[in-house]
Symmetry: C4
Subunit: 509 residues, 4 copies
């Protein structure tokens, strides 16, 4: 994209354009005039002005797709290359808060003490920058669906079988024809560099090592090509697609992906508009100077109160429709899967339109609150597609995936028993690399591997075909219970039962 | 109401009548002799005696309907006008508690940080006078129904649709033939000046700005005419009616309202007697001198222990009956709606008697505790009126509304999907103006607007007609679950799972 | 019982018998030689030895039936009268704990601040001696049933009716032919003097004043005749009966009661053995000297670890059987009611044997843990007795009562709606007199009266006949839900949503 | 096993082999060269090196089966006997933590204050070494099943009967033809010496005293023969069997057991691999030097991160299969029972293959998480075996047992009512001897005896045949409810109801 005979500008010259009146910044060695763009910046002008006349690359990188600046600024604002020798280093002031975080980072326990995927989350929460944690962990509105995704698995119980020779158990399978060592894939999640400088590459490398498939996100921090370049020969990758209002951009992207060897296209259909993620939004206020917020609130052209999520997603087309499907089928031969289906009616329509499958998903609880969990939707999809089209699941021709809320192989196997081909796992891997980089993801996959082996044995299943619906009791899955509000007066009067106590303790009370 | 050639009395003279034996007070510039009324005052004599010989307007205003004093005192006790120059200012001693409150008020976050309707409540709770908070927030008995109203919405889950072009979504509708930009109205709540000096006018102004309808309460702090006068030309207002034991007063009020352009009359039918709101009652004791309470308890003629709620409602007729309905139909042409219906049998009778609709409501949980939520009643009303009269909902001829417990557009849309025409929202707007005045209500409506837009898109609904019953799973709505009481001995023995911890933290423990 | 020409013994002489070897005590002015009884005392020897040679009346009174000592000691151990002038006062050392209690007692809020029956319990818990609180409040095993009794009412919801003229509401009814101003009675509870020196008489007096019926307990602290003597002319009283292994004692008691004008006999059938009330038992250890407990544990003949409950109940006959019923019918004309029925089968048998009714009860949760609540059993009793014998309820010929867990008139009316004739209320009245004596019970009944009036109006019921099954939704009553154990790892990682905060508060965090 | 003419080695010589290069240890007076074994030790090399050149018996004993070392080390590494006079005592440094524990141990309350089985657990948790507590109390994964085992009993409620002469109640029964005084047996649990030096013998002695049956575990700390030798004449014992990969070892063990008089063989079928018990695993890290963990993590050949559980179980055969059953039938005449059946299908197959019964069990929640409770599985087994084979339960020919989660006789009787022959109780007895040795188990059985007596009376059952299905309401048993995630914003705004408070308290707030 960059021309070859660019102008070379000195750091000194750039440094003079350090005001709202004339604001130049350096990103990846290029100089841009962003003066006119200040008020349109989804993230607010303040954060840009902080780097006016300086190198903004470090701040820019984790939260922008690599080509964001070149796409959004007209060519005449691309001023040229900077002479790197002449650029003054931005002196980063390390806040007390950041120092405390660095100390926590240094005190991470060794990986051998990480026993399950929850542990990564506990460590990540301690060692990630607050803004990154808020972006990864937040979900829509009251985060009911976000937590329901996990809770739903706890309403499904096992009916394991005994006395089957489980010396050898095999939990490998095929996803859209491609081999995977476990019945899961690493699903697409945005902005990997928020958690770790290597971003999505941590996932690429670990996927290769463990023989599982990575789904590359449209909103990756690393560029698409970088992620593909880091794959090993023969390593299978899928692509998650946000469809652009400008379909030509989408077409170019999809066809480029196909050329680069991507094996399947997962079109996100649950995000015509990104959900309100209030933790993410609130984090933003906490990080800003309250004085300026008050003072500027009337004159801001752009609503800056929407957190990282909305800042990066304005290009997504809310007009995407079933009638666009044939067009997708015309521009690529990759199998097409709809990601974000939430009822059997839409799954049926996807099948009828000749798609390769659906991902039952509510976007990790980040879109419509009170959407049901994927695992609950799976039951109705399997039932109705059998009833109406005679399909049985898992089904090679029309594959059903679920994602959201998974923390253990135990959860994954419940989805397999109920008919899913495989399960997408997202946040746990983000937390794994945010706390330990590539080694974290590697260890996470090791844990899952051990859990699969153990659970298969304890279930009495020698391969995934033996993980059948009869093995689960999902009869409470559809109960959405909220207890009658507590009787505070009665409860505060009730004196709790006490067990026997040591003598000394008693004498002290 | 005041004659023109009133006597003018000096403040000095008034000041001499400052005892239980002779007690005059000034309200709105008029002098009243309340000596004989002291023992009949629903709020107790003490609070009046505090202002004996002085100007009581500031204390009087927020908790009395404007004409309370003229209605209750016989004409001969209306002594005349006071000469304002001569009135001694009541020196208001600002308590430490009040100073702390003022400080909290000064520290409210800017409105941009208010992300949802819950936020207003959190701020209002901090910055409102305790008495006002107690009156607004309290509900009947154990406040089970009050909280159930909200909880019930959490038992309803979405089945959203995908791949519909939702570039443009329209969530406007008509209520009783009148246009509204959102499927909600500002429902009637009493004593607006407790929360803000402009009281109900905050709502009038915001309703105008956002194109929604305000229902004026009988027990407003502002006078009915003041509220109507503040409406913009063409602005639609409804009226909520408490029926007086003296029907001529009611008739005059209703016919005056119709003349002033009120478009519908909502007759409250769930309050033959006001409920016990114990928080409100308890607040009263906290505010009084315990010594006097003890000493006087035997001789008080009036039960002063009933809080603000009962103090203002003694005129309401417990004898109101179905057979009064034709009389209402005879005195006004406004459409009549019953507010407070709680089972299908009564909704059916309302339909059969030719009324325009019903509000399914339990009065915000302030009347009969263990009444079911409106949203739960809605399901049976829709089912039975279809079964018995062939009606479908939403229905233009017989409109069904719900109120209570709503905090997000997500909640409102569930009611729409289940057949409601629109939803009444009350307390959230009170909290909005109690914390930020008109700007608060304005911002609250902005938030709701954004939520409607987002939720419609995420549901795959382009207008309210597309928000259909198939979009919700309400199968758990009727579950009124109370968990089996906890096993305290077992639970206190159980040692909770721990996740991985940072090294340093561990060494400290 | 005492002969007229008793020997008179000087206090000085008594005082010499102050050891385990020779132990005399004074009770109600009589001298007893209890040396041989020390090891058989259900409450342990220690407590008696504390009063060896002294007047034990104050300690004896509240926890023994009045005739316990004369019944248990052979006549030759009844030594005679003491000369009161010569008795040394036992110097009561007031412990710090007791002083603190007395201070709390002095700080009780005035009765006007007691808004509901829960309030009495809160105050009683603060001001009662610990031993008394433990006896009154304790229940069987894990106290699951005890709390379920109350919780069950929270699974029943109202379907109130509107637009009925409820200016006048009447909630009086008849119990076994006798008028009561409210549909409840004061049920039998033991050892009233533990809570207040006037014991059960507080209830007698209040029952008279409010026109309700008192059921006299077999295990009253006051003597039966004293309670009857304190009734007003025409005041109706019932009797609760524990059946003695020695039927002649029972016969004498029952026939004496009938002669004294008792109107109905409630035979307790749920207590062949008293339940384990571990709080009561544990309280006992706390009060003892741990050294002695250890040292003596092997040699004790009597198991002293059973609390007040078992100490007083060893006479109750575990052999009571259906075949005893005709005998009861032969010795009295009073209507016979079985108290403690817990399934429809036994209610049916009671009906078939010609009894006047049953009390569905689990003894306040003090007997078999995991017994269902009376209100739940009521539903099956009404259903099956209709199905099998064509009975409808409430039924004059065969009356069904419930007790346990009631705290508000709201609860009582649910039982009425489901078919009960009336409801027994026990502990709340104990707490009322334990905290405020007679005035407490009086105020409790006033509160209930006001609650009945308000609830009847809000239900749209003008009399109890209009409180019908259609008014309640009891469909969740039979759900005995225990939530799946919590996912501690997931929950501890979840970062709770936060609402908007004041600026200052935020800066501090 | 030891030869007679062993070499005698001096303690001094042993002491020289105290390094990783040459590591000898003394166990039970024998000297072993474990140098080559260091890296294969399931518990890690570090713990062995701590005792290099020293006597390791005290550390070795509680967590190894008695013959572990002789079995695992080749004969040439068995170096001979040590001369006991010459062995230097290992100086045990008592840590502060251990001192604190010893102090707590000294302050145990007297046994008379232990009122129920929960109390033992509370004391054991305080006085056991942390490692032992972790091993006994831990369970699989999130410990959901572990707690569900107990919770399931709380979803079953009683329908007791009245007016049956319960003067005498008899709760004895027969298990596989052998008399027991209560309908329970002491089930097999591993590593008894972790809790008490006498280990499983505490159970043997108490079982004899109370006329109940003990099931001897394969993984006992005491040797099998020692446990059998400690039985009284005629005392019945069963054997729990983990099947070895080397069937000849199993055959020898089983036939030896039969010869020694064992009356039944319970083959564990739910543990082809031991579950992940993370508390146990985490405890291990806490006890190690973090520095070494980090440093060595790459080079360790053996995964030491698996806790005590896996360390002792590597011999168990994951290949055990239904087709092995005839072989078991061929090597012993003892009745064969499968322990760990979890669905009716497997129970049916066990019946069809002529086995004597099954234990419905999920291994105390220590294997597959989200396995259902035994009591829940019991209902389906009874139903289906009746439907498919016409069996009724309890059934002498095919006996069904349950274990897991039992804490009271009340629980046991629910299982009896639903068709179980008897119930296995495990952990409560471990906690009993861990806190009080033999006397603890003795007291635990006394408590259960009293509870059985009381519960039988309160149920109206004179013997176990009268404890019938009609006595329980198990209709909520299959509900696996997880509440909808909490609405944190709403809840944090809700101001809880307050009851009346003492004046003084109020003034302080």
């Amino acid at each position: 994209m960059a021309g070859s005979n660019e102008k070379v500008i000195s750091g000194k010259e750039v440094a003079q354009h350090n005001s709202r009146e004339s604001c130049w910044i350096i990103v990846h060695g290029k100089v841009y005039d962003v003066t006119d763009f200040l008020d349109d910046h989804p993230g607010g002008s303040k954060i840009i002005l902080k780097y006016a006349g300086k190198d903004a690359t470090a701040e820019y990188d984790p939260i922008h797709p690599p080509d964001a600046i070149t796409t959004h600024l007209p060519p005449e604002k691309h001023l040229g290359r900077v002479d790197p020798e002449t650029v003054l280093k931005v002196e980063v002031q390390v806040s007390d808060q950041e120092k405390a975080r660095q100390e926590r980072l240094a005190n991470r326990p060794p990986l051998t003490e990480i026993l399950n995927l929850h542990d990564f989350e506990a460590i990540a929460r301690s060692v990630m920058p607050e803004k990154a944690w808020a972006y990864y962990s937040s979900a829509a509105d009251d985060e009911i669906t976000n937590r329901e995704n996990h809770a739903a698995y706890h309403r499904i119980w096992w009916r394991p079988r005994i006395l089957r020779d489980v010396t050898n158990v095999d939990f490998s399978t095929k996803i859209l024809g491609h081999h995977t060592k476990m019945p899961l894939y690493i699903t697409a999640t945005a902005l990997g560099k928020l958690g770790h400088p290597n971003g999505e590459l941590n996932l690429t490398w670990a996927a290769a090592k463990h023989g599982v498939i990575q789904m590359i996100p449209t909103l990756a921090s690393c560029s698409f090509d970088e992620i593909v370049d880091n794959a090993k020969p023969g390593q299978v990758q899928f692509l998650q697609l946000y469809v652009n209002k400008d379909r030509s951009i989408t077409q170019k992207f999809v066809q480029h992906a196909e050329k680069r060897g991507i094996k399947a296209l997962f079109i996100t259909v649950d995000a015509p508009q990104l959900g309100r993620r209030e933790k993410d939004m609130r984090q933003k206020f906490d990080a800003e100077d309250p004085a300026e917020v008050t003072e500027n609130k009337q004159q801001d052209k752009v609503d800056r109160s929407q957190g990282a999520a909305r800042a990066i997603s304005s290009f997504i087309d809310p007009g995407l429709d079933w009638k666009d499907i044939p067009w997708f089928q015309s521009i690529t031969k990759m199998p097409l899967i709809l990601k974000g289906v939430q009822c059997w009616e839409d799954a049926l329509q996807a099948y009828d339109m000749g798609l390769a499958g659906v991902v039952l998903s509510n976007h990790g609880g980040r879109q419509l609150d009170f959407s049901r969990s994927a695992i609950e939707v799976l039951v109705e999809v399997v039932r109705e597609l059998k009833k109406q089209r005679g399909l049985t699941f898992p089904n090679e021709k029309f594959q059903v995936f679920v994602d959201g809320g998974v923390r253990r192989a135990n959860d994954v196997l419940k989805a397999i028993a109920l008919g899913a081909t495989a399960v997408g796992v997202g946040r746990p891997f983000l937390y794994a690399f945010s706390s330990y980089g590539f080694e974290g993801v590697d260890h996470a996959l090791n844990i899952l591997h051990d859990e699969f082996e153990m659970n298969m044995r304890l279930l009495g299943a020698r391969n995934l075909k033996e993980v059948v619906p009869e093995m689960v009791d999902a009869s409470s899955l559809h109960s959405h219970i909220v207890a009658v509000p507590g009787d505070r007066l009665y409860d505060s009067n009730y004196e709790s039962m006490q067990h026997a106590r040591l003598r000394e303790v008693k004498s002290k009370m």
